[in-house]
């Protein structure tokens, strides 16, 4: 047996779908190889992962053509449970793949199903927990772990079957930057032990550690090669809808030898004589300052805010924050640092247990969510937690109708909101049938329709691919330019760098850093302490004399001499 995975002419069409999800894929993976699959939403990454352990076509039905060979044996006609022992599969959503009430039982579950002897299971539990760095947490309830720990537990719970191949479908989508790194650290450790690894990802920085990167687009393999061969084609990847690496982007645009990592890019740029032009930097800082000076009066004032949950746990302590009219603020921090708890105080979903929150000068205490909702709109993270109507029109009209507006006014508001999110003309469509990116925009429109001054967005880019993330953030930027005050909770750091004027970092229920984005992102060590990592371009330019936030800024301010 010379190949771990061998796909020949694989084409798969989900039952009831018009187009094939995979359309003639040829892919061979050698034993021990580490392959990263990249591509935009709908490229077929998940389908490809599911084919490898038989979920497609055994569980998710449809028409499969071509040949699938796993570890030298044809997969056709084999049950998922027969393939699963050889091909472990980790899903994106860690909540729905953990079923036990404590960590060690979670890891024991799969080998129990395969009838492994209890003494052997005990050994595997110990070993797998050590591999993913969760030793000592055996008796914890999975629900009490952090996002990154949950995903590492999900990996351990699959490793305990001792599969020869491990497949992960976007395992880091919901994780903060250090959580992502920890998952990839586990992947590298497994690869050293000779496990074959296939990881689907839409963020590319971690893919640089792979042996091979495979680019999928519309169900086909459109490029493959070493990370260096593939990821250095930054502009081409961006056009496909895959996030390019900052290091590759800047070196390509300046016509320099390609770089993949921060260190490489710094070296290449230095050698070519580039540095951040001090005059240009002064100019950029001056622009930041003028923008800050032009802001209006405070619209949100948080004073000594404390929030204790009924079980006594203090989620927020001594939080002070003033947001001015027209500001664009990013609120970042590790999962569980208190970001969401803080913003839920701003529209009255939570009331302070100490201190005070004022919106437009009036304390929120005693005001209902309905009253506050006229000024403060809140877009929840997952659009599926709010979409209920049969048409886009009714979904967007929900807010204005709740506020008691007359129907002609409601209609005008819906039209305006749909125009703002680029969904004009789709009023009669069923929101449930739209893509995730479109549903997210429907959710934003449904909040815009009540014309709030302040818009809170909780992780507006989660679950979207690079192109959709850009579209969403361009929309948010336009809203800000039209005068809306924006508060965006996120852990997507390039979004912070490119869009937010001011960045507030939370850690353990307190405000850890607060300042202009350029200044906050320059303080790498403090960010690391809050489990955050600035994007590549920011780190590269920070080593070349000044912090630049976007490719445009780099092209403007990086000069020879």
């Amino acid at each position: 047996m010379s190949t771990a995975i061998d796909l020949r002419g694989v084409r798969f069409t989900y039952r009831g779908a018009a187009r094939p999800a995979l359309d003639g894929v040829d892919l061979t993976v050698a034993p021990g190889e580490f392959v990263v699959l990249v591509g935009p939403s709908g490229a077929g990454k998940s389908t490809l992962c599911y084919i490898l352990n038989g979920l497609v076509p055994q569980f998710l039905r449809g028409r499969l053509e071509g040949s699938v060979t796993i570890l030298g044996e044809p997969a056709a006609g084999r049950k998922v449970s027969a393939l699963a022992e050889k091909v472990g599969l980790v899903f994106q959503d860690f909540e729905s793949q953990l079923f036990s009430t404590n960590v060690e039982l979670e890891v024991a579950f799969a080998p129990e199903n395969f009838g492994v002897d209890p003494a052997e299971i005990r050994r595997r539990v110990r070993e797998c927990l050590a591999t993913v760095g969760l030793t000592g947490l055996e008796h914890r309830e999975p629900a009490t772990l952090s996002g990154g720990q949950k995903q590492r537990l999900a990996i351990a719970s699959v490793l305990s079957m001792e599969p020869r191949i491990l497949v992960m479908d976007e395992p880091t989508t919901d994780l903060d930057p250090l959580g992502k790194e920890a998952v990839f650290a586990v992947a590298r450790r497994l690869r050293e032990r000779g496990l074959t690894l296939v990881i689907a990802e839409h963020e590319t920085e971690e893919a640089a550690a792979a042996d091979r990167v495979v680019v999928l687009h519309e169900g086909r393999v459109v490029a493959q090669g070493t990370p260096r061969e593939v990821l250095t084609r930054a502009d081409w990847l961006e056009e496909l809808g895959v996030q390019p690496l900052g290091a590759a982007q800047i070196t390509a645009r300046l016509g320099l030898p390609p770089a993949l990592t921060v260190e490489e890019a710094v070296e290449v740029l230095r050698e070519a004589g580039y540095r951040v032009d001090p005059a240009a930097l002064v100019e950029l800082r001056e622009r930041d300052r003028r923008r800050a000076a032009a802001l209006g009066e405070p619209v949100i004032e948080v004073r000594d805010l404390e929030h204790r949950y009924p079980n006594g746990v203090a989620a927020l302590q001594g939080v002070n924050l003033t947001i001015r009219r027209g500001e664009f603020v990013a609120l970042v921090g590790q999962n569980g640092s208190g970001k969401t708890t803080l913003v839920k105080h701003l529209n009255g979903l939570l009331q302070p247990t100490g201190g005070e929150v004022r919106v437009a000068g009036v304390p929120t205490a005693g005001q209902s969510v309905l009253q506050l909702g006229r000024r403060v709109g809140y877009v929840f993270q997952n659009p599926d937690h709010q979409i209920f109507a049969e048409t886009v029109y009714d979904e967007v009209a929900f807010g204005p109708r709740n506020h008691g507006l007359p129907e002609p006014e409601v209609q005008a508001r819906v039209e305006e909101a749909l125009a703002a999110v680029g969904l004009t003309g789709r009023e009669e469509e069923d929101p449930f049938a739209m893509t995730r990116g479109e549903r997210q925009r429907v959710a934003v429109a449904s909040v815009l329709a009540t014309r709030p001054e302040v818009i809170i967005l909780d992780e507006p880019t989660t679950g979207l691919d690079y192109r959709e993330q850009r579209q969403m953030m361009e929309l948010v930027r336009r809203l800000n330019e039209q005068g809306h005050t924006i508060l965006c909770v996120t852990h997507t750091m390039w979004v912070v760098a490119e869009y937010a004027h001011r960045t507030v970092v939370m850690r353990d229920g307190r405000i850890w850093m607060d300042g202009p984005t350029r200044e906050v992102l320059a303080r790498e060590e403090e960010l690391t302490a809050a489990s955050l990592k600035p994007p590549q371009l920011v780190r590269i330019t920070g080593r070349l004399g000044g912090t630049l936030l976007s490719l445009e800024e780099c092209l403007h301010a990086l000069r020879k001499g």
């Binding site: 729905s96 793949q97 039982l105 579950f109 799969a110 129990e112 209890p118 979409i387 506020h403």
Partner: protein, 259 residues
């Protein structure tokens, strides 16, 4: 949000095999309801509270204390007023009816508190493993324990959905009944749509972990009956015996009581 009653610990009650522990709870329920007189359920409640002390199960009991006090208090008062006796005490309340009310209230409180202490000291999986060893088929036991496991997830998602719709101005508290029911549609639709989606993902994850791969699966939690466990079986057996004795001899009836 935490809806589990389990309290992590390593007390003798935690270590007790789930099978005799289940028997103890069943024995407790039988014995508690055997007599009319409050003495027996009162003594059993004392035992349950002592067990809660040993197991450190107070956090679980504290969470149900409102329910316990309401149910206990309500039955005591209701039966004290409704039942008839021969020795007047105050208005319609007689000594007999008060005793009977106390007995009924204590029966309910002792059995509920006993079950709560059981859940506070028994993990989901132990409960499932115990049921399997007592003859329940594995898929049934798994469905049972997974349903328990999913409750917090659904409660959490439900809470988020309510907050999301409230943020868009939904106000389910005002309006007359029909209107209020109509207002729940924006909550019910996403909850059900979400439940279907997560059930599907759960099924995929189960398949991928080899659920049902072999006709015989093994169990990581090995249940072995030690001397303490057999002692618990004996105690449970004594409780049944007590129940039979009380029922056969008619002991513990309150003379002069008419329900």
């Amino acid at each position: 949000m935490d809806v589990y009653l389990y309290v992590e610990g390593n007390s003798p009650l935690h270590r007790l095999d789930p099978r005799p522990k289940m028997l103890l709870v069943v024995g407790l329920i039988f014995l508690a309801v055997a007599a009319e007189h409050p003495l027996v359920p009162g003594a059993l409640l004392g035992l349950v509270l002592a067990a809660a002390q040993v197991a450190g199960a107070w956090p679980a009991l504290r969470r149900v204390r409102t329910i316990l006090l309401t149910i206990g208090g309500f039955s005591t008062v209701a039966w004290a007023l409704l039942a008839r006796g021969t020795t007047p005490l105050l208005g319609p309340v007689t000594v007999e009816s008060l005793l009977y009310g106390l007995g009924t209230g204590l029966k309910l409180v002792a059995t509920i508190a006993g079950s709560v202490v059981f859940l506070a000291t028994t993990k989901n999986e132990e409960l499932a493993a115990g049921l399997i060893r007592l003859g329940l088929p594995y898929p049934v036991a798994f469905a049972f324990s997974t349903a328990l496991r999913l409750v917090p997830t659904f409660v959490g998602t439900g809470a988020t959905i309510i907050q999301a719709q409230k943020s868009r101005g939904l106000d389910v508290e005002s309006g007359h009944l029909l209107e209020r029911m109509r207002k729940h549609i924006p909550l019910v639709v996403p909850i059900f749509a979400g439940a279907i989606r997560s059930a599907n993902r759960l099924a995929m994850a189960l398949e991928s972990k080899g659920f049902g791969a072999r006709p015989r699966r093994t169990y990581y939690l090995e249940l072995r009956m030690g001397p303490g466990d057999w002692a618990a079986v004996a105690v449970a057996a004594l409780m049944f015996l007590g129940f039979l004795l009380i029922r056969l001899t008619g002991w513990g009836e309150i003379p002069g009581l008419h329900r």
